[in-house]
Every structure is written in structure tokens, then in C-alpha cells.
């Protein structure tokens, strides 16, 4: 049987050349993300914004969105977002947070249930008050910051300083681009999105670490090889693995996007995008970054002379 090869053996591709495109491109996207984040902002879900989310399904299988919107706007609970999704007459309603503190939120659900429960099933009702949403924003931010710090600490402990710095730059790049994805697609940003970002942090480092593990190994073997060549070699060596893993992970996520159901689709889409971004950044951002950071600085001291000579 002929087996599939996604990447040729003994490849000698010059990946470092890409940095002329990838650096400006990533910088551009990052800046655009920052600007859009400040001007347009994220589409916060009720986890962070507070408010009430309802998913209802028409018992007849046919939802009258226009009528729902008209009725819901008549409640006087502020701007209500009404959206149809799925195929079986499912409609989601989002009400903003009501003034008057925690107790004021309950009225929304009551009113909606009284109005719609004859013709619609309530599949999901979520109400988050102002206090809880404030805390969720806080813990979400802490989580992302903390994970970056913890990982930085691990890398610092496990790798040379230069490699640690380069991989953390790659990871920050991936976080920024993921946020950019949320800003541009108007994907709802909620607690699950934080989970997606943290998973992407993990995956991003996973990718970089595999390449850098090899860089470190090759560095000790070829003492005199220029950084650029060394990095190219590392990526070429690990490329077939990178492609395999990206492919299997992407295939799983694709299964989730296609069949996982509406509630998990958003998460899977972000992760799928994340896998692509992480793979790109490990090859085109973190690794070439080392050309500028310098690679040999601390390493030359660390490897004893005799051992290095034997390896060559």
C-alpha cells in the first residue's frame, strides 16, 4: 500500500525567507486588531456584558422572527437582538442588562415566558447580573495574563532565555490574532472564548516548543552553523510532524464545526482558526524572531567544549 506523505523527505525549504512577508503582515494585522478593538470592540456575550439570553424553538417548527422582534421590542427592556439560527425554527433573543441592579433582571425572563411559552419551547435561558459579569471579566483577564506568565516561567526554566522570549512573542501574536478574529467576525465573546484562547495559548506553545526543542538539539550538534540555517533546518526537520498534528487536530475540530451542534460551533471555529494561526506563527514568527534576538549568546557557554566537538 502506498502511504500518504504530506511533506517530502529531506526537504530544504528556506522558511526564513518568509519573514519578509510574515513580519509586516502580522504587524499590520495586529495593529488593525488593536485599532478595531478600540473603535469597534468585541461583541461581548452576556457572560461579560450581563443581560439575558434566551433560545426558543417554535413548537410548530416555523418561527415568525419579525413578530417575535416586534413583540420583544414592545416589552420595553431596551434594544433586543433577535436572531434566527439552525433550521428547526430556533430563535435567540438577547436583552441588555436592566437598570436597577440584580433584582431587576428577573422581570425580563418572566415577561418573555408569559408571552412566548404558548407557541415556543424555551431551550435555554441565561441571566447574568451586573455583579457576576464584572467578576467574569476580571477572572477572564486574570486567566489569560496568568497563563502567559506561567508559561513564560516554564519556558524560562526549561529553555534558554532567547528561545523563551521568542516563543512568548509568538504566543502573544496568536492571542492578538485570535482576538482579531473575534473583532472581525463579530463572534460572540464569552467565557467559552476565554477557554478557546487559553487552549490556543497551549497549542501555540506546543508548536513552538517542538521546533525549538529541535533547534536546541541542532545547536549543540552543529556548533558553527549560522542561526538562519539552523532555524531552517529545525523547521524542515519538524515540518512533517507539524503538518500531521495540525491536520489531525484540524480534522477533529472540523468534525466539531460540522456536527457538534450550534452551542459548540463557535468554540470549534475559533479553535480551528487558532490551529492555523499557531502553525503559521511557530514557523513564520517565533523562529525567525530568533535571528533578531540572537541565538548563540547564552548557549555557547552552556555546552562543554569536549561534548560539542564529539557531536560534530
Amino acid at each position: 500500500m502506498r502511504l500518504v506523505r504530506l511533506w517530502p523527505e529531506n526537504s530544504r525549504f528556506d522558511f526564513m525567507r518568509f519573514r519578509r512577508f510574515s513580519f509586516p503582515l502580522s504587524a499590520l494585522i495586529s495593529i488593525a486588531t488593536a485599532i478595531m478593538l478600540l473603535t469597534v470592540g468585541l461583541n461581548f456575550g452576556i457572560d461579560f456584558k450581563g443581560g439575558t439570553l434566551m433560545e426558543i424553538q417554535a413548537k410548530s417548527g416555523q418561527a415568525d422572527v419579525a413578530q417575535i422582534r416586534q413583540t420583544a421590542e414592545g416589552f420595553g427592556f431596551g434594544d433586543v437582538e433577535v436572531q434566527e439560527f439552525g433550521s428547526a425554527g430556533e430563535v435567540s433573543l438577547r436583552f441588555p442588562i436592566q437598570p436597577g441592579g440584580e433584582a431587576a433582571q428577573a422581570g425580563v425572563v418572566q415577561k418573555a415566558r408569559d408571552t412566548f411559552s404558548n407557541e415556543y419551547d424555551f431551550r435555554r435561558v441565561e441571566t447574568v447580573g451586573p455583579r457576576v459579569s464584572g467578576e467574569l471579566v476580571q477572572s477572564g483577564t486574570i486567566g489569560v495574563v496568568l497563563s502567559v506568565l506561567a508559561v513564560l516561567f516554564y519556558l524560562w526554566f526549561r529553555f534558554e532565555r532567547e528561545l523563551a522570549v521568542a516563543s512568548i512573542i509568538g504566543t502573544l501574536h496568536d492571542i492578538v490574532l485570535t482576538i482579531g478574529f473575534f473583532v472581525i467576525t463579530r463572534h460572540e465573546f464569552n467565557m467559552t472564548s476565554i477557554a478557546a484562547i487559553l487552549t490556543i495559548v497551549g497549542y501555540s506553545l506546543n508548536e513552538t516548543v517542538v521546533v525549538f526543542d529541535r533547534t536546541r538539539e541542532l545547536m549543540r550538534r552543529y556548533k558553527t552553523m549560522p542561526t538562519e540555517e539552523l532555524l531552517n533546518l529545525s523547521i524542515n526537520h519538524t515540518m512533517s510532524r507539524t503538518i500531521m498534528t495540525a491536520a489531525t487536530t484540524a480534522l477533529s475540530l472540523l468534525a466539531l464545526v460540522l456536527f457538534g451542534g450550534q452551542a459548540i460551533q463557535g468554540f470549534a471555529q475559533v479553535m480551528l482558526y487558532g490551529v492555523v494561526i499557531c502553525t503559521y506563527s511557530a514557523i513564520c514568527i517565533s523562529s525567525p524572531m530568533l535571528i533578531y534576538i540572537g541565538l548563540r549568546g547564552s548557549e555557547a557557554v552552556k555546552v562543554p567544549e569536549g561534548k560539542a566537538a564529539a557531536a560534530e
Binding site: R124, T192, A195, R241, L256, G261
Partner: protein, 564 residues
């Protein structure tokens, strides 16, 4: 990069890069998979997989299976624990309540004012301007030094030391007593005192909530403290938490008082339900309260067929109620629930039997709730709903279905892909993958972990990442063999060298997952659990199990070349 350096990288130097002195040792360690080690590995995996079996059964099947186990088998030998489905999968309500601190403080200040009034009366000291309520406390003014002398020791008794289960006496006191100029004395609740009250209020609330929720007949509610001032109530299967919320939203503080007669001074103006919320004067004196009740039942009035609540007093309550009704024949009683007069019957005859009824214009549901409230006792403070999440059973079922399909499809994708790429080795990786998913199930069952919708996503995602370790190993083996090693030494070197990378790459993933676990709540935490367990099992299956299978395959086939 010029040709020369490439040649150096790929040609001569790479080919020379072997360690001849290690070759023989390598051959031995790779093949040495003793029988006992194989048996141990298999036993570990089989036990791990068996632990997951109860999770695959429905609860009735599980019960039947546990009953079928002979009694002489020790219970720890029988896997009985199962994965718990999260509320987002089985449907149900999640209500997060917070003790209303302002309400609690108000109540405490009222108590403090009553205490101070009592002490002033006892010591026959008069305060100028009476007792002023200030923020978080009360203020009195006693200009005469001799009066203050008598008063202060009694006031000091009000300040209770706060004890803590962990630290014992903390030295903090619940009330701060201050003497200002001009004989001004202030008593304020301390922060420590309020925190302590909040903590105890949460504990008491949990008890009261449990009684109330149980009374609604829902199955397996989970009621737990969350943080310093919150209670999380989770009720699986509950579709419309309206009744639950109505029950939890009421403090349930019942008082029997008298409607005030014209000209009375010590009165509260309270809204009366029968008068459409119009405020009526009610005497401050409380004849009996909810705590004096021993029972309360919803019923129908045999004459009017109206829904009513029958109640029964304890001895103390019966006595006081009997006395008050005897003394106040013909006057109107005020039955006050959470500062609202819900009923104001006229006392027709002394009620000395210790039982009575509350009637009014109630619906059946209202009397049912009222009876539950009275039976379960009053909450120590008002509870506010700060978060509510309800998932209907239909959505939960659909989510499980969709999750199953996605898992199967992801599994099939990955299995086919691995087989197409690595042949026999891909098959071995696929067996390891199946075991990996099985072990996640087993571990989750033992831990009785909660499977949530993001948790399912976690399983699917680990299907993709689990094979990463295999891929790392296989690619490494391929490289080693290509650079001139024999197949067995290549396999050995592949495992050895890839191992450090596997540990590194999984550790970084684990760090992110652990943080997510501590940070997230509910569904998101479910994702973190799956992910952490997935990382643990992947190291076991990809390294130990794969290595064993490859060793056996090698011993059996004695191949001359790698199959991929």
C-alpha cells in the same frame, strides 16, 4: 543558504551522527519487554477501561448491575462510580444567589437598636434625641457622666467576640463602641462582624434553601456555598425555575402582630395585600413569629372552598397567641410576611388550641408556596439572584447527540488519516487512541467528574492532539532510520529523543488547562478537566502502550525496513 551548508546539514555530518557505542544496549532495551511488564501494562489499561463502564449505562441499568453483583464481592472491587452529566447536557437550572449584605446590615442595625433601647430602659437612662440610626450603627447621647458610668458596661456586653472555626478567637469584636464628646455614644457594626454575619447567613441559608427545594419535590438538587457570600443551587431537570425563584426570593419572615388602633404611636406602616398595597398602621409588638410554628400545610377552607394554610404553634407560640387573642377580642390580627400584611382576620374568639389558619385571596400555588416558606423557616437575609442559567431537556439531549456524532466523525477522520500515513504504526497509534479516550472516560468516572458540553469539545480536541505524541515519535524514528540507524535502534532512539519533546509540549498545554480549571466555572471547568486528564492519559498511551505494541510487532515480524 548555499549548497555547501546544506550538504553539511543533510549529507555527511548527519550521516555521521550516530552513537555506535550505544547501539548494542539499544537493541536490548527496545526488545526487553518482559511478560510481567506486558501483563502489568495490560492490567492497568483494562482496569482503567472497566472503570468507565458504569458511565455507559443508564441509571436503571447501573442499579440492576450493582444489585446483580454477589454480596461477597467487596464493594471497592466493583466499579460503581459514573460520570455526572452537567446541567447543560441533562437540562436543568443553575441559580446563583447572593446574600444581600445591605439587607443583612439593616436587620442587624434594627436588632442593635432594640438592644440599646432595652438597655436604656433597664438602666433607666434617657438618651437625648432618642436612638439615632446612623450608617451601620446607632447613636445615643447621654450627657450625664454618672448615667454613662452605669450604661457603658451593659453596652460593652453587646460587643460579641468573633470566633472563627480555624483561628479560634480572632480578637475582633462584632460591634465597635465609641464615646465621643458631649456624651455621644456610637455603636457600629465592624467589618469583621458583618463578614462573620454574612458567613453564618450563608450557612443558615443553605439549610433553609435545602428544605424549601426539597419541598418542591425536585430530585437531587445540589446546594453549595460559593465564595464568601453566595449559594449555588443546581436542580437537574427543572425546566422553569419560576417557582424555585419565587421560593428563594422570599425571606419567609412571618410575624403575627395586631393592626394598630387609631392614635397608637409605636407602629410600622406596612402595605396590605387585601387593600391593594395600601399602607396600614401595624403595631410593632410581635405576638408570635414563624419560628414558633411547628407545622404548616396548604388546605382548602371547608366552608368557602378557598385555598388556605393551616398552621400549628409550638408551646410558647400557642401560649402567647392564646393570651393575645384573649386580650384583643374583636380587633384585627395582622399576619405579616416579609413586611407585607398578607391577611388581617378579625379575632372572633380566643385561639388557645395552638393552631390556626391563614386565609385571604390566595391562589392554590400561593398557599402551597406559603406553606413551604413557613415550614422551612425564614432566611437570615434576603437573597438576590445574581446569575441564572436554565437549559431545557431538549437542548441537552440534542447537544449530547451532536457531541456523539462529532466524536465519532473526528475519531474516524483521525484513525483513517493515521492509518493512511503510517500503515501498521498508524494502526498501533489508533489502538492507543481508542485506549486513550477509554481511559479519559474511566478516570472521569472514578473522579465522578462532570461532563459538560465544552467537555465533549475537549474530548474531540484531545482526539486530535493525542496522536501528536505518536506523530512525534514516528517522525523521529523515521529520521533516525534515515540517518543510517538499524530499524531497532532507530525505534529506540525515536522514543528516547521524542520523549523530552512530548513532555515539553504536553506541559505547556497542561499549564493552560490547569489555569482554566481554577478560573472557570461550570461548563468551562468541565473542558479543563477533560483536557488535563487527556494530557495525562496521552503520555501513558502514546509512550508506554505504543512502545509495547511496537516491541511486540518487531519481535513477531522481524522487519528489515520501516513500514512507513
Amino acid at each position: 543558504m548555499d549548497d555547501r551548508s546544506w550538504a553539511q546539514a543533510w549529507g555527511r555530518s548527519a550521516a555521521r551522527y550516530v552513537w555506535p557505542e550505544r547501539l548494542r544496549k539499544v537493541e536490548l532495551t527496545m526488545l526487553r519487554f518482559s511478560k510481567s511488564k506486558i501483563i502489568a501494562t495490560l492490567a492497568f489499561i483494562i482496569i482503567g477501561l472497566l472503570l468507565g463502564v458504569p458511565s455507559l449505562m443508564s441509571s436503571e441499568q447501573r442499579k440492576a448491575y450493582l444489585d446483580a453483583v454477589p454480596s461477597w464481592v467487596p464493594s471497592w472491587l466493583v466499579p460503581s462510580r459514573a460520570i455526572v452529566l452537567g446541567l447543560d447536557l441533562q437540562g436543568g437550572s443553575h441559580v446563583l444567589l447572593q446574600v444581600d449584605e445591605a439587607d443583612l446590615v439593616r436587620g442587624q442595625v434594627t436588632l442593635l437598636r432594640d438592644d440599646v433601647r432595652r438597655i436604656l430602659r433597664d438602666t433607666r437612662v434617657a438618651s437625648q434625641n432618642g436612638i439615632q440610626t446612623i450608617q451601620r450603627g446607632v447613636q445615643i447621647r447621654v450627657p450625664d457622666a454618672a448615667d454613662r458610668e452605669r450604661l457603658m458596661p451593659r453596652l460593652r456586653e453587646l460587643a460579641q467576640p468573633i470566633s472563627n472555626a480555624v483561628l479560634g478567637q480572632t480578637g475582633d469584636s462584632s460591634i465597635a463602641l465609641n464615646e465621643g464628646p458631649d456624651g455621644v455614644i456610637t455603636l457600629t457594626l465592624t467589618d469583621a462582624g458583618i463578614n462573620d454575619r454574612v458567613r453564618r447567613a450563608v450557612d443558615q441559608s443553605i439549610e433553609v434553601i435545602r428544605r424549601r427545594v426539597d419541598a418542591t419535590g425536585t430530585t437531587e438538587p445540589s446546594i453549595q456555598r460559593q465564595g464568601a457570600d453566595r449559594v449555588l443551587v443546581q436542580v437537574p431537570g427543572l425546566q422553569d425555575p419560576q417557582q424555585l425563584k419565587a421560593l428563594l426570593g422570599e425571606t419567609g419572615n412571618l410575624e403575627f402582630r395586631l393592626l394598630a388602633q387609631p392614635g397608637a404611636t409605636d407602629v410600622d406602616m406596612l402595605p396590605m395585600r387585601e387593600a391593594g398595597g395600601q399602607r396600614v398602621p401595624v403595631e410593632r409588638r410581635v405576638i408570635a413569629e414563624g419560628g414558633d410554628l411547628t407545622d404548616a400545610q396548604a388546605a382548602f377552607d371547608p366552608q368557602t372552598n378557598q385555598p388556605i394554610v393551616n398552621f400549628r404553634f409550638n408551646i410558647r407560640g400557642a401560649q402567647r397567641f392564646g393570651q393575645a387573642t384573649t386580650e384583643n377580642l374583636g380587633r384585627q390580627l395582622a399576619i405579616v410576611l416579609d413586611n407585607e400584611v398578607i391577611s388581617a382576620p378579625t379575632i372572633q374568639s380566643p385561639i388557645t388550641g395552638g393552631s390556626g389558619q391563614i386565609s385571604g385571596s390566595f391562589t392554590v400555588e400561593q398557599v402551597n408556596n406559603l406553606a413551604v416558606l413557613l415550614r422551612s423557616g425564614a432566611l437570615p437575609a434576603k437573597l438576590t439572584i445574581v446569575e441564572e442559567r436554565t437549559v431545557g431537556p431538549g437542548l441537552g439531549r440534542d447537544s449530547i447527540e451532536a457531541g456523539k456524532i462529532a466524536t465519532y466523525v473526528a475519531g474516524i477522520f483521525v484513525v483513517l488519516f493515521m492509518f493512511a500515513t503510517y500503515g501498521v504504526f498508524g494502526l498501533i497509534a489508533n489502538i492507543a487512541l481508542l485506549v486513550h479516550v477509554g481511559l479519559i472516560f474511566g478516570l472521569m468516572s472514578v473522579l465522578e467528574a462532570t461532563l459538560t458540553l465544552p467537555g465533549i469539545a475537549g474530548i474531540v480536541l484531545t482526539i486530535g492532539t493525542a496522536v501528536d505524541s505518536n506523530v512525534l515519535i514516528y517522525e523521529r524514528i523515521r529520521e533516525e532510520v534515515r540517518s543510517g540507524r538499524s530499524i531497532v535502534s532507530g525505534i529506540q532512539a525515536g522514543f528516547d529523543r521524542a520523549f523530552a519533546t512530548i513532555v515539553d509540549s504536553n506541559s505547556t498545554m497542561a499549564i493552560a488547562a490547569v489555569i482554566l480549571f481554577f478560573l472557570g466555572s461550570g461548563p468551562v471547568r468541565g473542558f479543563a478537566v477533560v483536557f488535563i486528564l487527556g494530557i495525562l492519559t496521552t503520555v501513558i498511551t502514546a509512550v508506554t502502550l505504543t512502545r509495547m505494541m511496537i516491541a511486540l510487532w518487531y519481535q513477531w515480524m522481524r522487519p528489515k525496513a520501516l513500514p512507513f
